[in-house]
Symmetry: D2
Subunit: 460 residues, 4 copies
Amino acid sequence: MSRLLVKNGEIITALDRYFSDIYIEDGVIKAIGNALDYKADRVIDARGHYVFPGAVDAHTHLELPFMGEVSTDDFESGTAAGIAGGTTSVIDFVVPAKQQSLIEALNNWKEKSKKAVSDYGYHMAITWYGDQVKKEMAQCVREEGVTSFKAFMAYKGAIMVDDGELMSILKTAKSLGALVSAHCENGEVVALLQDRLASEGKLEPKYHEKSRPSYVEGEATNRFTMLAKAVDVPVYVVHVTCREAVEAISRARAMGLSVYGETCPQYLLLDDSVYEKPDFLGAAYVMSPPIRPRGHADALWGALKAGQLQTVATDHCPFHLKGQKELGRGDFRKIPNGAAGIENRVGLIYTYGVTENRINLNQFVDILCTRPAKLFGMYPRKGAIMVGSDADIVIWDPNTEGVISAKTHHQRNDTSIFEGFKTKGAPTWVVVNGRVQYDQGKLDVQRGAGRFIKRNTPEM
Amino acid sequence: MSRLLVKNGEIITALDRYFSDIYIEDGVIKAIGNALDYKADRVIDARGHYVFPGAVDAHTHLELPFMGEVSTDDFESGTAAGIAGGTTSVIDFVVPAKQQSLIEALNNWKEKSKKAVSDYGYHMAITWYGDQVKKEMAQCVREEGVTSFKAFMAYKGAIMVDDGELMSILKTAKSLGALVSAHCENGEVVALLQDRLASEGKLEPKYHEKSRPSYVEGEATNRFTMLAKAVDVPVYVVHVTCREAVEAISRARAMGLSVYGETCPQYLLLDDSVYEKPDFLGAAYVMSPPIRPRGHADALWGALKAGQLQTVATDHCPFHLKGQKELGRGDFRKIPNGAAGIENRVGLIYTYGVTENRINLNQFVDILCTRPAKLFGMYPRKGAIMVGSDADIVIWDPNTEGVISAKTHHQRNDTSIFEGFKTKGAPTWVVVNGRVQYDQGKLDVQRGAGRFIKRNTPEM
Amino acid sequence: MSRLLVKNGEIITALDRYFSDIYIEDGVIKAIGNALDYKADRVIDARGHYVFPGAVDAHTHLELPFMGEVSTDDFESGTAAGIAGGTTSVIDFVVPAKQQSLIEALNNWKEKSKKAVSDYGYHMAITWYGDQVKKEMAQCVREEGVTSFKAFMAYKGAIMVDDGELMSILKTAKSLGALVSAHCENGEVVALLQDRLASEGKLEPKYHEKSRPSYVEGEATNRFTMLAKAVDVPVYVVHVTCREAVEAISRARAMGLSVYGETCPQYLLLDDSVYEKPDFLGAAYVMSPPIRPRGHADALWGALKAGQLQTVATDHCPFHLKGQKELGRGDFRKIPNGAAGIENRVGLIYTYGVTENRINLNQFVDILCTRPAKLFGMYPRKGAIMVGSDADIVIWDPNTEGVISAKTHHQRNDTSIFEGFKTKGAPTWVVVNGRVQYDQGKLDVQRGAGRFIKRNTPEM
Amino acid sequence: MSRLLVKNGEIITALDRYFSDIYIEDGVIKAIGNALDYKADRVIDARGHYVFPGAVDAHTHLELPFMGEVSTDDFESGTAAGIAGGTTSVIDFVVPAKQQSLIEALNNWKEKSKKAVSDYGYHMAITWYGDQVKKEMAQCVREEGVTSFKAFMAYKGAIMVDDGELMSILKTAKSLGALVSAHCENGEVVALLQDRLASEGKLEPKYHEKSRPSYVEGEATNRFTMLAKAVDVPVYVVHVTCREAVEAISRARAMGLSVYGETCPQYLLLDDSVYEKPDFLGAAYVMSPPIRPRGHADALWGALKAGQLQTVATDHCPFHLKGQKELGRGDFRKIPNGAAGIENRVGLIYTYGVTENRINLNQFVDILCTRPAKLFGMYPRKGAIMVGSDADIVIWDPNTEGVISAKTHHQRNDTSIFEGFKTKGAPTWVVVNGRVQYDQGKLDVQRGAGRFIKRNTPEM
């Protein structure tokens, strides 16, 4: 029996803040109270620290084969980097090929995730539709604990589904009580604009954003929410980047719809001038949707504070500049899309959100920990500091300062899109399943210790 | 040589109002001026009358085979009814079947329209896409004077095109300088809602609106304008009925796009309580998009006044209640969609628009006569009182009063959706191609006198 | 020492739901846990019940002299009626006359509230501004525990402040960390419209809404939020009734402002057809802002669900139809404005919000209990089920059914604006400060037992 | 008798374009037609030129005492500079001091304008309200031909009116059929922000925009339109600069209101980086409202194209950098507000509007010539190429190129806010009242030849 006692910390939840001790036994929170005097193997004095639930990253792509390459962080390195930053569970996307069995793809992912060091769940991407898919969707929800699906409205000719297929997915999900998320960009328009830019010889990284401008995302987001209204099913918009998408979501929510939105640190903190960086460094920022022109980030922060967006995830999907991103020298369409962020998310949102008064501490915990856990059916096991919850706990020093750099991060990525960003606040200790796995600057993880999280249907 | 002199009228254009005489020779306006003393075969004293260009109805379906029936007004009766109401040209939709040659369908329409009594043009509906269609679209514009196309975003499984096809249509139109209009309703959603209502046994006419509610139109309108933005081509939204569509158009226009919108008298003047009429009379109002709940009409009037909608057409497509609409007793999905309006449009907009101060007289002429002529490339031959213009002229008594009724209208329709509507103002004389064809209450038309209007590309 | 044990209930908070027992000692929650086996004077078996924090009504006018009359419920009867419905604290408005000392008015209110049966706080209305007011505002916040102020943008010539005064109030509040709320209607416009209607002889109750239509509220709401932006201070909009105000609040929140909004059951559940009731019954619904036309309520529900409005209060301010409302027979401007609601709020929001799926159970508790407590600086003493919180607890039977009627309510009001409304769910027991004061249908309150709540500055 | 014949030009009106000759006698257009063969004192061959109505600048401040200085262009130099750029009439603002008689101020302006070289009218600013003002407003409209008024919602403590006064102005204007325009900035907020910036020592020109940011204009614009709705009177918003104001106007217009908006070239073409110019050059751009951050101009262009803004004027009010603007070194609040533009407007809008496809040629004429003439009751005497109209005619070479510079302009201003701007198109000849006053690069004006334009009430 392992026993851990965290004393004197200020507990922050999505609703409350109060001083209390926490006693943990065998990976589960057993007691919360003042001056607890349980015996423990280890006692952490959290004085001067915030204590909040381990953050949930609901959007990762670990060891993902994509555009001819494989994302560099696998389930071991990715979840470890997460722990170093305060993230203690991830939900990764299983992406079946067209015509591939969902279950077959799921089994593939199960294999890959065996080496995870923190707990993990899966979303199932639905890249085609048919009777088999319908049946397997039910199996995912009812047997496998995979209770959320994702559709791609972009990537024409690859994993994009058309509106008819999307409607079928939404209907099936409704019958299962599952949540459907979508990558909202109009794939037809992206294809058109890519062709046009290519025909004009505009193939440097800086044209990536021009090939999928914000109205392309706004249109798809609007369409997705209206299809959801027709089917009467809750939906979740991943990686919202722009004012138009925020407005589409807000219009839908004003109609009383259960529409939820996620954004990511890169969209909150960067602008499209990054694509102008010399020496092909702009390629590091090539992801879809792209980084937007100045102004959009204000809309995203406003929406987070107002509650029109509910979560911040990472879309963690790193590729090296050397050897991978470089494949797109001469043609931005061939640059593997994606970047790293799992290690940086909590610190960035604390620094630029909380300390700059864009959101408060409760919102910070809600956005990073509690809401994703609720929306994806793993609350209060995850996302909560409650008796009975998994002992995934971040003990956060609000005053320490740092600078993000690829030289020092734990992510497997030769660049960082946040290189040079200053941070305020960082974990001193991170407890994962009752064990201190990040200890005053040192990672101490166990390959394969992470467990699969069988999720319930979402709580809206 | 035929010579006509119209004296002492107050000429109303889209821009001006002034007193002047008009002299006409062989169907063309030859002089405009005060106290003209040309010799003429006939002199009309227009004292106390407004004199404005013959109205253009840019949206008719004459003798259209649709849903197993054929619309009751043919090119003779339809254009004659138009003249009785002040409309002197129409643009009718050629609707090829899927896989049918556009030119073959066009020839079919040429045959049908030989009996027209006023001038007419065609829009070409594009119900499928391929190399042949692309080639024939060019032929339409360059050889046939058919310079506008229409796509259907509804009618899944029939004439609906998907987004990829729609993009192709837009691109081809752009290369030709042609205008594309669209029927904006999301066909996938309509199909879903129809199925759901049917499965619930909800098949009376009153469920027609429930099967295609306003957000369905709003979504498609938004999508259409964003595709147009991507392709960078002007577009025209037919029969706008609701606030959501007005807002989508307004958003697009605020971005600087060349997006134009049309509405119809039925959407301005009726509300969905009509579907509750007893004795299956609600079926008379079954058209797509449907008549909306109260409130939407205010948005349409506001948009007309503000210039966010530019035209009012009719979507004239009558079916008898007896023998035709009745086919849908027991299933609203089988009620032939459509209603009559070509005779009533000018009077209704004058009465409820001008005399109730919702729009001014110049706007009235712009909306009904000049804008459709400009947008569809037949200005200033049509839609203008200018030297050189076709002598299509309405001489309007602003003070006469009337009541609309199926008993007295010239339209071939056993019901009128405007039954009992009071009107103020009516034509005393209507001159068509220089000949008085409506003369103080009496139609005097000539079968086959109408000529095809070879149109130019649109003027924005 | 009084000891109470509530066993087996399902505790609902703004964030969580879980089964637990609650042990209470001397009016304070001492323990929350499973199978607690404290000795107690009384044990309630809450099986099958929801257990949530006593609701807070942040907007009441008890024993208020207004328009020549005095509202009929005093602090005793009003708070008692609240308890019967599940409301266990109120914040009442101290309304000084122009030029009156705030502290003098406060003392007056202290006198009146001595007879309260539940706890209460005060908002201070600021009806004029000057050095004395500025000084007394500081005294209110720093010494009196009155940490919120209210300004009236309506009631020209009476308690309305102009924009310069409003700016001064906002600036002083900012320096004190206090929250400012406003009654948002443009008083200049109301005065104009009242005069116009009067001059046209339109003085029946049904013209009340016409004298202050929704755009009047929308304008003032927009202005209030922009003044708040300039001063950089959080604000709270009381009794939001309409789409325009919701949109103004949403625009402000999208800019990242700390703008909060309250609505009331009457605006969520009634429409302006109530003003047409015969026998002057329409007068019962005369309040400001007025009940709106159909459609606005949908916007309010949507905003509550989306989090754009945060609270539901009552604006409880009853006047009898007989003898009071009747004074305005012949002139709606003389009808004392206001209605009762304190007893009905929780039940109505449960019935029409939760059971009709417009909001979920956590939102229900947040909107009625937790958010008002947080925004008005009395959380977690009020609005929470936490160890250390006041033992104000509602034990709610979700299945019982009822019908609202003036014949049976505890409010001192000869009419009910919710007469005949069906409800689902009601309190079986209501614990106030550790004592069961509503017990299976029977009120058991103690005159004067209510205590003043010295509030902290707001928590945003 | 003076006779002028303009041959072979392409006439552009707000509605049409066609080739025609124009014959002018004694300052009035006598005939328009092809191959006119009147005898004339002078014949201009306008081949290759556009021929359009002399532009109307509805917003000038000539020889205005303001902030301790007097604007540098008087009625002679200002109207002359206008002619050099294609502007042939101005409407200047009479600005009475508080408590001053409107008629007294009007007489003062009559004196100043005697030296004008082109025709001119006046708007009357209403800076206070009372019985005398009410009476004099009537006198302005009924006797003086001054049919438009202006209120200032900014300049607290100086010429600002409060909402009560503004309502009175609107009501009186309504009774007279007059149009009311407003300078829409919230004066209370400006005062607050100026004080705050001053207290922080932020007094360089670059803080001017920070002292009156766009939301300040948005709020006042929204308020103005809602007061106008209540009074039911048409209104005109001068110098719209930002997205928020455009949105407020668009919301009002969507409600069917007669709300019109004007913008100016500086807001369409500059951004707030101008305030960062070295050597106090930023002061040249200090005007109110200020030049906005990037992005707002797109909203203005979109609104012009969509018809949500109707006119472009100049707010011409030049002060020299040397000796005048310099007074505000060390305190931006003391920089005389204003800049020159009357000479540049037509060329800038042609270049950046027409040749860059943001508006078409008809819109260009409408926005600069016809709409201001209509809205301010001088159409078709001004703003039209019609028989009977004043012969104010611009003969425009669309192909000539130029560069704007203070070194070469005719405006009395030691700087140009458009210094270095390239232009395409310029007048070759400008005819004013039938006389060629700008002749292939050379001004030939007559001091005092300009006549006062007695205006009618507006045409909406």
